[in-house]
């Protein structure tokens, strides 16, 4: 916690005047909440679950005994019983990693995600491991949309199965969600992605996020990303996307199996914050981000206004 505060203090100093304005607004926000004018939205997320249906076996390995869909489901149910507005997402690589996938082709993974009530997922490179036909075959078991905006599937079997984005409505709030995937060439065997065309994820993400924020007037824009958190090279990553967009509030990341100590808040091109979060892999952790929205009845706000960030849930 001490370290956390230090980090925050540094950011606090960096943002200077903005922070001062934020403190002034704190009280307003609090009053609104007390008066019942605040709507709370809870985002839950996983990534790179890799067919980890059961917890890791107890065999002395690093993650022994962790994860497991039965526990995750119970946890999600508990949170749903406590919170009114919950959305559950996954950032891809659902498939591959245990014999469940090799034997049943992902059918069980998708059925379990449907049972847990996932609201949307994006595609990871391993979701192509049985080819596009292999993925397509499991879609009847999915009661949630697959979102990906930067793979052009026009000339493939997935043509009508993948959506670029979806707008969710919760308690008057509009939440725009879209997906971006990693370059498949060199990562996935050619015949498994066939005629899928990979499009620049930063350009596509900006195009979609701007539409969601400006045209659909979404209150929150979430990107489900399988690009990877960061690289030592200039390879496109969540960090690069976060710095180079205008309208994304939250990137739920995957691919690099990164266990982040805390979400990373990046200043984006519009001066606002794009938050990146990723929770390791294999369902070892479940991520949670709560957002609080204040209702402005008819009032039009023109001034820049800050929001408050804490890495602790409200008691």
């Amino acid at each position: 916690m001490e370290e956390l505060l230090k980090t925050n203090r540094r950011d606090f100093l960096r943002t200077g005047g903005i922070a001062a304005a934020a403190l002034a607004l704190n009280l307003n926000a609090f009053e609104a909440e007390a008066a019942g004018g605040v709507t709370k939205l809870t985002i839950l997320h996983t990534n790179d679950v890799h067919s980890r249906v059961e917890p890791f076996p107890i065999d002395g390995s690093k993650y022994e005994g962790l994860g497991g869909t039965a526990r995750r489901s119970a946890l999600i149910k508990r949170i749903r019983s406590e919170e009114k507005n919950v959305l559950l997402f996954d950032a891809g690589d659902i498939f591959q990693g245990t014999p469940y996938f090799n034997k049943f082709g992902g059918e069980l993974e998708i059925k379990l995600m449907t049972a847990m009530g996932y609201d949307a997922v994006t595609m990871g490179n391993h979701d192509f491991d049985n080819g596009m036909e292999g993925f397509y075959k499991q879609l009847p078991h999915a009661n949630f949309p697959i979102l990906c905006s930067n793979y052009d599937f026009s000339n493939t079997i997935l043509n009508k199965s993948i959506l670029p984005y979806k707008v969710f409505k919760k308690d008057g709030l509009k939440i725009g969600v879209f997906g971006v995937g990693i370059e498949l060439h060199g990562l996935v065997e050619g015949k498994n992605y066939g005629d899928t065309v990979y499009l620049d994820p930063v350009a596509k993400a900006n195009e979609i996020a701007d539409v969601l924020k400006n045209d659909f007037k979404c209150d929150l824009v979430i990107c489900l990303s399988h690009l990877g958190y960061k690289y030592n090279t200039d390879k496109v990553s969540d960090q690069i996307l976060a710095k180079n967009n205008k309208s994304i509030d939250l990137i739920i990341g995957g691919h690099t199996h990164t266990f982040m100590d805390q979400p990373e808040d990046v200043q984006n091109l519009s001066g606002a914050i794009t938050t990146i979060n990723q929770v390791g892999f294999a369902g070892i952790n479940l991520g949670r981000v709560d957002y609080y929205f204040e209702r402005y009845k008819g009032k039009k706000l023109k001034m820049a206004s800050p929001y408050l960030i804490s890495n602790k849930l409200e008691a």
Partner: protein
């Protein structure tokens, strides 16, 4: 009020620009984040267990199926400590043999490091589970086209780590350096280009194996390391053969 106190603890980081476009009537005022560790402290949802149980039963039956026979116990400990072992020779020869069915132009193979061979391989019955335990990872086989200078770095790595699982490669290790290196039976030439079979994991810099990142070309052949092993065991069985790896002096040390 506790509420207010905790509120003062928040540190503001950001500005959400509210422009005319954000006229939904809502403004983001704060965010709180947390992470749950999914461990044994948590309750389980029995309806989920009920969903996966029939799959689990079927899977376990499958995993215990005998797919081949082996003449010798192949020890991970020998593979970890000796320049060459039954386990490392079995592993690399099996993988190379299967990979050659996908691409015949392979100069030599380093399909895994010693660390990647996870457990002993048994004498007698070989089950699907034995192969999964030996190779639990989902690595894909790839062919890297490398300049001789980069291959030299890999040879140095093999020698400095007291040998690794290899096929179509022969060397003597003298003072932790590779000597008298033969690639597919011919002396290694630093000016030549070589096509090297390895896994996507090793090729991506896993286990600190050097030089693969300098490849002039890479090819995913479409065969997983484990599937190569599995196919090898099944084919031997179908041909009525017992798996019987030998030490052939491909890596020696004096």
């Amino acid at each position: 009020m506790d509420h207010i106190k905790s509120f003062r603890n928040y540190l503001a980081l950001s500005v959400a620009l509210l422009v005319a476009s954000c006229s939904s009537g809502y403004k983001l005022v704060k965010t709180n984040r947390a992470e749950y560790n999914v461990n044994k402290e948590l309750a389980v949802d029995s309806s989920i267990i009920k969903t996966y149980l029939p799959y689990k039963v079927q899977l376990e039956a499958e995993m215990n199926k005998v797919i081949g026979h082996s003449a010798a116990q192949m020890s991970k400990k020998s593979s970890d400590t000796l320049p060459e072992s039954l386990l490392s020779n079995f592993f690399s020869d099996a993988v190379l043999e299967q990979a050659l069915k996908y691409d015949q132009n392979i100069d030599f193979a380093l399909p895994s490091t010693k660390g990647g061979l996870r457990v002993d391989f048994p004498k007698g019955n070989v089950t699907v589970s034995n192969v999964f335990e030996l190779m639990p990872f989902e690595n894909q086989l790839m062919i890297f086209t490398l300049k001789g200078t980069d291959v030299k770095q890999i040879l140095d790595f093999i020698a400095s780590t007291n040998g690794q699982p290899v096929a179509r490669l022969q060397m003597k290790i003298v003072d932790k350096k590779p000597v008298d290196v033969l690639v597919n039976g011919k002396p290694f030439e630093v000016n030549k280009t070589y096509r090297v079979l390895t896994s996507d994991y090793i090729g991506g810099g896993g286990d600190n194996v050097p030089a693969f990142k300098n490849a002039t070309d890479t090819k995913v052949i479409g065969l997983k390391v484990r599937d190569a092993l599995m196919n090898y065991v099944k084919e031997a069985e179908a041909a009525g053969k017992t798996i019987n790896p030998k030490l052939d002096g491909r890596i020696t040390k004096n």
